[in-house]
């Protein structure tokens, strides 16, 4: 009936195809809104940055020649900043894995030791820990160079915080996953390695990414033990020439850019993991 009269009575045919134009309009309206949002976002950022730069420049606080001469020296610290951050996060991850296993252990001694570690490290300032490793340990006969000292202090410190992240991640793996592995006769160690850990890693990746971003910034603290990273270099030339604003601005900008780059990388990683198993 409806089909037969289709040629003339198009107004009365089923409305499935006729819905398309409105759906199309909604889609394109949403797309336009999204694009507009992005343009506004970029514009606001551009304006804010311009305001700061122009303001400082007008106030005579930015001198291109001084920057031209000294920026390369400051930027030369990027490599050490990244090296310290990566080495520290690797050590922290290792400490956290052991710490988390300890915090989940039913063995009282193991549990006590790992809880002690977490409590002690989280209860004292990172700066104090850095001083202890560099200035106090030598009195006990343990002498480390500045960079290894910084890595040890940062790694132990972040390891304690990440212990709790890993513990929560391991506990977040549903118990049914372990039961299914038990039911096929898998022994506990194998279950941890093959079933629990891979799922826990996926769960903790966002949180560990945040720790790494924080680590990039906290790595500046090792400048106090003469590690010649970004901040140490900025302070060095800035105070020498009484150009602190410019010097620290350069350092701050670099930390900012590093964290943005890593955030983008982290977002991509999360999206890829989400695609593979959800």
């Amino acid at each position: 009936m409806a089909g037969g009269g289709g040629a003339q009575g198009t107004e009365f045919t089923l409305d499935v195809p006729r819905r398309a134009p409105i759906v199309e309009r909604i889609t394109s309206a949403r797309r336009r809104a999204r694009v507009l949002f992005r343009i506004q976002f970029a514009a606001v950022w551009l304006i804010l940055i311009t305001l700061i730069v122009v303001g400082l420049y007008a106030g005579g606080r930015i001198e291109p020649d001084w920057l031209g001469r000294n920026a390369p020296f400051i930027l030369g610290g990027i490599g050490i900043t990244i090296l310290v951050s990566i080495a520290s996060i690797v050590l922290a991850t290792f400490m956290a894995l052991i710490g988390a296993l300890g915090r989940l252990s039913t063995n009282a001694i193991v549990y006590a030791v790992s809880s002690f570690y977490v409590s002690l490290v989280r209860g004292t300032p990172l700066l104090v820990q850095i001083y202890i490793v560099f200035f106090a340990l030598p009195q006990l006969g343990i002498v480390l160079d500045p960079i290894p000292s910084g890595i040890v202090a940062l790694g132990f410190n972040y390891g304690a915080y990440m212990t709790e992240i890993f513990r929560a991640g391991i506990q977040a793996v549903p118990h049914g996953q372990v039961e299914a592995a038990h039911a096929v006769g898998m022994p506990d160690r194998l279950i941890f390695r093959r079933i629990v850990l891979p799922q826990a890693v996926r769960i903790v990746i966002p949180a560990v990414g945040n720790e790494f971003i924080a680590m990039i910034k906290d790595s500046s603290l090792v400048s106090v033990i003469t590690v010649q990273e970004l901040l140490w270099r900025a302070r060095n030339v800035g105070t020498r020439d009484a150009r602190s604003i410019q010097a620290f601005l350069v350092a701050a900008l670099v930390y900012w850019i590093l964290t943005i780059i890593f955030s983008i990388f982290q977002e991509r990683l999360e999206r890829r993991l989400a695609r593979s198993d959800r």
Binding site: P174, Q177, A180, A181, G185, L190, D277
Partner: protein, 292 residues
Amino acid sequence: MTAAHPLPDPAQQPPTGRLAPLGSGYPEGSVLPARLGELIVRAEGLHKWFGDNHVLRGVDLEVRQREAVMCIGRSGSGKTTLLRCINFLEEPTAGTVEIDGLRVAADPLHERSRHHQEQIRQMRMRAGMVFQDFNLWPHMTAIGNCIEAPIRVRGLSTRDAVEVAERYLGKVGLLDKRDEYPSRLSGGQKQRVAIARALCMEPKLLLFDEPTSALDPELIGEVLNVMEELAHEGATMIVVTHEMHFAREAADRVVFLEEGRIIEQGPPEQVLNDPQDERTRQFLRRFLAHAG
């Protein structure tokens, strides 16, 4: 090869007309189904307390080779606990379980002892389990789920494990989904992969814990079909289920539990059509009224 569910071999069939021995779960003097083989599971005096809650109150259950036993009863009657005590996913508070000659006694005071855990592990390798909510490992593909334990627990080579896994994935009708992650499968497909995963260990016994309770109604049939096929091919299984129609079709024996005890058991026609105990009658009446 087909150790999981050997097809009834006519030469090994016990003579028909054998009388049911005491404790077999069949009414005294009745005739055992001819296809049943030797006794393979014997649970004796199982008790389970959860705190002050006495969930299992002395359950004895024997299962013969190629027998499909279906446990029914209202929720809280202890059927799931019974199943989980049989492979020690719950440590019974008292009692013993013997599967295919390996006997393990409940030892709740030394639950974590290495010897006890190893015995339990050996026993679990003889009893595959299928869970209500599948519990597939989400970071592995369908075939990854199926070959994990055969390779790492049974020590099969990857090639052999894949061959076995493909056979059982084919059996549950999902060979074309072998490389899909569980997240891409429907509930019914997930449960069928879970069944294949259990079969890949080639166990002597299959335990099903309400395998269709988490499924959308239209997906229940595909899982029940696979289970029914397994039962007809002679897999030994204990199934906790609410699917009375399925129990009637596929069970050799129906066991009715109430308040942690087996109240009544026997062939499905008898227990489901002509229950002797008032409590069974009441349960079935209520159940059928609800099921419409």
